[in-house]
Symmetry: C2
Subunit: 346 residues, 2 copies
DNA sequence: TTCGCCATTGTAACCGGTTACGCTGTTGCC
DNA sequence: GGCAACAGCGTAACCGGTTACAATGGCGAA
């Protein structure tokens, strides 16, 4: 592979001039530049980005560290990030912590010297640990994580409010026995959603103590919950799953057992994965514009890179909105929710 | 940020020794190593991967260039790649050609010096162009692209055979008027699938000339096709869409018009996106293990990086397999396809 | 004609690591 | 005791670019 020195020799100029000509700096005569460009073509020279970024102290790359790459959630985040990164000519270096704390540290360390900034989504990490791993000199934006005590900008979804609103809506729809299927214990989203559920129940339906089943965001945990209900061990006329995945499993298992949704049991999820609107009946859920999580985070990071100092105060909270569909539509006498996408129940 | 020289000074040794101690090379005394490590801790030193890879001429990173990041297809590919990349401690640098040929060149050029190898998926690029862009010195594996004349290893899905088999199955199921919704004209997958359809029709159902509607892999083109059928302009008792996305749109629109699937029209897709099994009735489709496309490609690339010279002959062709579900289940008298996932119709 | 200024170009230091090579001091052996 | 072999460590060159600074030369002004 040709290097800049090769090009310079071929064009009969110095490396400095060759570099200037290639990068379009002003002070190069037209004929000189032409000679350099000819040499570039001839030798098939492509600049070595690694070397360039070493001296420029700028890589035009942002590191993205996600807990996993499984499923659509992450795919959408990456797409959102890429959308705005691409506009500013930035590249994406993907790191994957594969769920392990140890790997998180490794992933972050491996980014040193290859990225200008970091987008990190650490759903089940303690803030203290996180600050140990992060390099304070490296602009960093947290995704879907309320930094809390940490002085870091972040963008997150208001899971609490979303869950609260969904619970409210179910009760307004006439549900009397609302069961919540929770997500993984250590997962922040899951915990916030559960809190929203509990608080809404406490506020609106004091007399009924909230029932919470354990889950782990997988279809299987939804199925498990369904079996409890089917076998009659758990009276329920509405189930609010902490994510759509579980709701899907739940519905499938209920269908197998001949339980009608929403006739016998209403079901609601959280996330609005594309599958949700394709089920029949459609799944009522909290729409989170996942790609906006990524694009907003990336925009914040770009501002940091430009030198704007975002205070921790500059956190962005995205509000999910309720999409009412068929799975919560039919309690007799209850107001019938619109099936139109984007419609809000209030 | 601390550099290696800082560490060396702090530990009272030379940079060479510091480097050796940190990298665990043999010839360093235990006390010396301990001193270096103490300095590393104290200064919070993290090696600068950019600099390291410059001299090592090795980046431990592979570049992944995809036509786009939209939808699950790419997400699954990335997941497959990451799966095996992660095992070998490799990082992923994502490039996105955003559909434009010009950007493809830019994306490939930007990888120079930041990656050890390349995984490229250029669905609508001419081989000649591709070879212009690619650096022959950089190990490269093509994804989902038959390199043809190019002397490059690749991994691809046998779209032709898959489409052929699906068409066969529809006819065996009793269909008489099979319509194919094609994908984008310039897309290789789409063209191969169309060829498979045409050839199967020619072979098995000579008398019926194959009907082909244009499409672009989007749900909308499926809906458009549905409207043609509903309005009676196009007699059809079976539709084979070139991908699941279009099949989904088709089914939704047919449902709105009150056309029964599979009662009035059978429907089949291609890809087996997760949504497919969640529709009711389930969508019959050709299962492509998309993640395997990525993981297989990555494994081939790793072999190249290890120095094995794969001849172009080492291409891998993945065979899709037919998943029969509800949307092709009900022509009277026809053998009823099993709804079990993974079942083959023969 | 001579001087100074400016535009163009070259020399060389540097980014932050790795590593070939050489130096030193110990140890083993005759 | 003398010498070779060798382990541990340091010096400095290098990876492939960028860029501060100096050198050169052409031009207009005095």
């Amino acid at each position: 592979m040709a290097t800049l020195r090769d090009v310079a020799r071929e064009a009969g100029v110095s490396v400095a001039t060759a570099s200037r000509a290639i990068n379009g700096l002003g002070n190069v005569t037209a004929p000189t530049r032409a000679a350099v460009m000819a040499a570039v073509k001839k030798l098939n020279f492509v600049p070595h980005s690694g070397a360039r970024s070493l001296t420029r102290r700028k890589t035009d790359t942002v590191g993205v560290i996600l807990p996993d790459l499984f499923g659509e959630f992450f795919s959408e985040i990456i797409r959102g990030i890429d959308l705005v990164a691409h506009e500013s000519g930035m590249h994406l270096l993907l790191g994957n912590m594969h769920g392990s704390t140890h790997e998180t540290a490794a992933a972050i360390a491996a980014m040193r010297g290859r990225v200008d900034g970091l987008l990190v989504m650490p759903p089940d990490l303690k803030p203290e640990l996180l600050s140990d791993y992060l390099d304070p000199a490296l602009p960093t934006v947290l995704l879907n994580y309320d930094a809390g005590s940490l002085d870091l900008p972040f963008v997150a979804v208001d899971n609490y409010r979303g869950a609260y609103a969904m619970t409210e809506a179910l009760l307004a729809q006439g549900a009397r026995q609302v069961v919540h299927i929770a997500g993984p214990k250590h997962n922040r989203d899951a915990r916030d959603r559960q809190r929203g559920f509990v608080d809404a129940m406490a506020k609106i339906a004091k007399e009924r103590s909230p029932v919470i089943l354990p889950g782990d965001f997988s279809e299987e945990s939804g199925e498990k919950a369904a079996r409890l209900i089917v076998e009659g061990q758990l009276p329920a006329d509405a189930v609010f799953a902490a994510n759509d995945q579980m709701a899907v499993g739940l519905i499938a298992e209920l269908a197998r057992a001949g339980v009608s949704v929403p006739g016998d049991v209403m079901v609601a999820g959280f996330d609005d994965i594309p599958l949700a609107r394709h089920l029949s009946p459609g799944l009522t859920t909290m729409q989170v514009n996942i790609d906006r999580l990524g694009s907003t985070g990336m925009m914040m990071l770009l501002r940091l890179l430009r030198g704007d100092t975002l205070a921790a105060a500059s956190a962005t909270i995205l509000n999910p909105n309720l999409i009412a569909r068929g799975t919560t539509a039919s309690l007799p006498g209850a107001p019938r929710a619109s099936a139109a996408a984007g419609a809000s129940p209030t």
